[in-house]
């Protein structure tokens, strides 16, 4: 059997946070020299490649979304269970059955939510973009994926020794730094380009072929 080009890193997850049925889903795949992010609506896939040599940082932030959702599910499931119990005692078996089934369903979702562990958001940063990775919505999974990527990125870029960061960043003062924003703009680059055209007339113009 031919070797597969991509290996699955995560299952697909909805881009929208509160979407129960969402059209756009995102998943992560591991390639030979890059991470592939696939956004799909079921009939069309769009791809984003993050090459190991270009990945600057991965930021994981634990969120309370899982706790809030769990609490809400627990309260609703508990109330429905209570109503089912009361309805059963009041002589409405059909109503009790329906409420009981819905309560059990919600309880099952609650258990799945608890089993998934704490939730998080994950951002991947390169020199020109900051990409939200919705498929890394659980802390455990995000850290597992990061642990998987770390040696591959280190292989492509080399290791960053402790205390090396400030030393490495020194030459950047001359070249200017780029701070990508989530909407795709590159702050540092924009400033540098503006400076070159306005303040430094000797700078050669950019020629596009």
């Amino acid at each position: 059997m031919a070797e597969r080009e991509y290996e699955r890193l995560t299952r697909s997850a909805a881009r929208a946070r509160f979407a129960v049925i969402s059209a756009e889903r995102c998943s992560l795949w591991l390639g030979k020299d890059h991470v592939l992010s696939i956004d799909t609506n079921g009939y069309r896939e769009s791809y984003k490649r993050f090459y190991f040599r270009d990945i600057q940082a991965v930021i994981i932030r634990q969120t309370d979304y899982g706790k809030i959702a769990g609490l809400a599910l627990g309260v609703v499931a508990g109330l429905l269970g209570l109503f089912a119990f009361l309805s059963g005692h009041a002589g409405h078996p059909v109503l009790a059955y329906i409420q009981g089934v819905v309560a059990a369903l919600l309880a099952a979702i609650l258990v799945l939510n608890l089993a998934g562990g704490p939730t998080c958001t994950c951002q991947l940063r390169t020199a020109v973009q900051v990409e939200e990775l919705p498929s890394l919505g659980r802390l455990r999974r995000a850290r597992r994926v990061l642990a998987r990527l770390r040696p591959l990125i280190a292989q492509a870029q080399g290791e960053l020794a402790p205390g090396e960061a400030p030393a490495r960043s020194e030459p950047e003062q001359e070249g200017g730094s780029a701070n990508p924003t989530t909407d795709g703009r590159v702050e540092g680059l924009a400033q540098r380009t503006d400076g070159a055209t306005e303040g430094n007339p000797e700078e050669p113009p950019i020629i596009t072929p």
């Binding site: 597969r4 795949w29 009939y43 791809y47 280190a154 960061a165 730094s177």
Partner: protein, 196 residues
């Protein structure tokens, strides 16, 4: 500025180097959100400056196809034209001219530039399955499904591994639907002929 600033994803506060590459979650100094910030050497690498081509100094030296006054440094791996440093577009250690890069992107010849694909197999399967809810629609959708399944049988599917099972299922389902309609029309025609 020493370090390119990384911002807290919640409060947008710049994160200090003390937070970088910690094994566990550490609180953001401003909003106390638990963060793990994995930083790699590329963050501290200056952006590579663009190069403009070197002017030709010696007569008879190879020149760029697009800029005849500039020195060629590399041939395009798509068309073989000589390129100067300005026209050399490097992609995964391969060198292309802007025209080949554009052609490769639009025609999908360079896989690394491929941005999207249509999933005809999923389309065909949906077209075969969903109209079954209102069976009359299959009179139209079954031939359409069959057309899509046959027309795109060899078309590239998802970039990640995917079998032809969806196309096959769509083909079988639509064939059965068409067969069902043929049998129905044939039965109706025979009935009208015998009774009328």
């Amino acid at each position: 500025m020493n370090t390119p600033s990384l911002l807290c994803t919640r409060c947008r506060t710049p994160l200090g180097e003390a937070l970088f590459n910690q094994p566990e979650l550490v609180p953001c100094p401003a909003c106390a959100a638990p963060l793990q910030v994995a930083v790699f050497p590329a963050l501290f690498r200056p952006l590579r400056a663009g190069r403009d081509g070197e002017l030709l100094l010696i007569e008879g030296e190879s020149s760029c196809f697009y800029h005849p006054q500039k020195k060629a440094v590399v041939p395009c791996q798509g068309c073989g034209r000589f390129l100067c440093a300005l026209c050399d577009c490097e992609l995964n250690d391969q060198h292309f001219c802007p025209a080949c890069l554009e052609t490769g992107r639009t025609k999908g010849k360079i896989k690394a530039l491929e941005k999207e694909r249509m999933l005809y197999d999923s389309m065909a399967l949906s077209l075969a399955v969903y109209p079954l809810l209102i069976f009359y629609f299959t009179l139209v959708t079954a031939p359409a499904t069959l057309y899509i399944a046959l027309r795109y049988w060899n078309a590239p599917r998802s970039i990640v591994h995917r079998t032809k099972i969806r196309l096959l299922a769509a083909f079988i389902l639509s064939s059965l639907q068409i067969a069902g309609w043929v049998v129905l029309f044939w039965a109706l025609a025979t009935r009208f002929r015998t009774h009328g």
